[in-house]
Subunit: 166 residues, 2 copies
DNA sequence: AGGACATTGTTAGCTGTGCTAACGATCTCG
DNA sequence: CGAGATCGTTAGCACAGCTAACAATGTCCT
């Protein structure tokens, strides 16, 4: 029975990924702390650095976080001088978040720090293993994206499921 | 220049893994919340369920966390009746953490819930992709372990020196 | 024996992340 | 213009991580 085996694989995979994600984050956090940048701040900063200026709401959605949470993350980054808020001219409700030059520098430094931590581990991998890990990371990203889309549309899966019908 | 390419690969990989870990955890947390179990609690619980009773210190080390943090995680689990503290007879400083039957049930339910979330995404993967992802997760686990050992030994003089050490 | 030291777990207090609820300001549309 | 939607913020809660300080216990050495 093929589907039974896939189920077992998926279960083991879920545990493995869960555990790996927790422990990876705990380790990376230690290095990130050295630059005063927590994982959420680093992640948000990288969005504006690589993706360009974004409104707070866009940022919150990109990071899968509620607006109040993103408000405080951005405030933290702003106090450190890594981003700045800028009001939109045409729509005064919007707050556009820009990365400062210092923000770009700090992000790059953080990348370098993280990669240094991974480097010695990566060096022990063969080229084939490195490629496998890269493919795994790629697939993981797609998997997460797929989870996100499923979650976002979890109310729409059956078109008839109207709000208000018990 | 081979090392230059590997460096670039490692850098991209670090970012990818960082981002993936953050977002995966944020998604899984939503499901875990449904059972009232946060990721750290779930992770700690799984250690005692699969690894058997452990002292608080062992648990803290296994989870790469300081003792005070583990104290509160265990207290939370204990208040939920998922775990119980039990003093050691021979060494009265030790507190041994046991999973209760309810703890085992809840852990299994959490696994099922997580896997359900992954299932629909996994179903879209071919067998080869699934295997790749599994390999990736495996490599990731080893990588983290290697990072941990490197980190742990960064302070020590010559105790249990790593293979290949000067 | 007994006292100095180490180990174990806890408490107290800080920072940061996540949420919901409620709000003020602004835009949009009838 | 006014009703309602949208955007960001504030306030207040729970939890995770840390360090520092502590009590209790075990160990070791004289």
């Amino acid at each position: 029975m093929k589907s039974r085996k896939r189920e077992r694989d998926a279960l083991a995979l879920a545990d493995q990924l869960h555990s790996a994600a927790i422990h990876l984050l705990r380790h990376l956090r230690k290095e990130d702390d050295a630059s005063g940048l927590s994982a959420p701040r680093l992640s948000a900063l990288s969005v504006v650095v690589f993706g360009g200026p974004a409104t707070l709401g866009q940022l919150a959605r990109a990071e899968q976080v509620k607006p109040p949470t993103m408000t405080r993350i951005v405030t933290g980054l702003e106090n450190d001088g890594l981003v700045r808020r800028e009001g939109d001219k045409s729509d005064k409700r919007l707050t556009r978040i820009h990365a400062t030059p210092q923000g770009q520098r700090v992000l790059m430094a953080g990348r370098a720090r993280r990669v240094k931590l991974l480097a010695s581990a990566v060096e022990k991998l063969g080229a084939a293993e490195l490629a496998d890990l890269g493919r795994g990371a790629q697939l993981l990203g797609e998997l997460i994206d797929s989870m996100r889309r499923q979650n976002d549309s979890s109310q729409n899966r059956f078109r008839g499921a109207a709000p208000g019908s018990p």
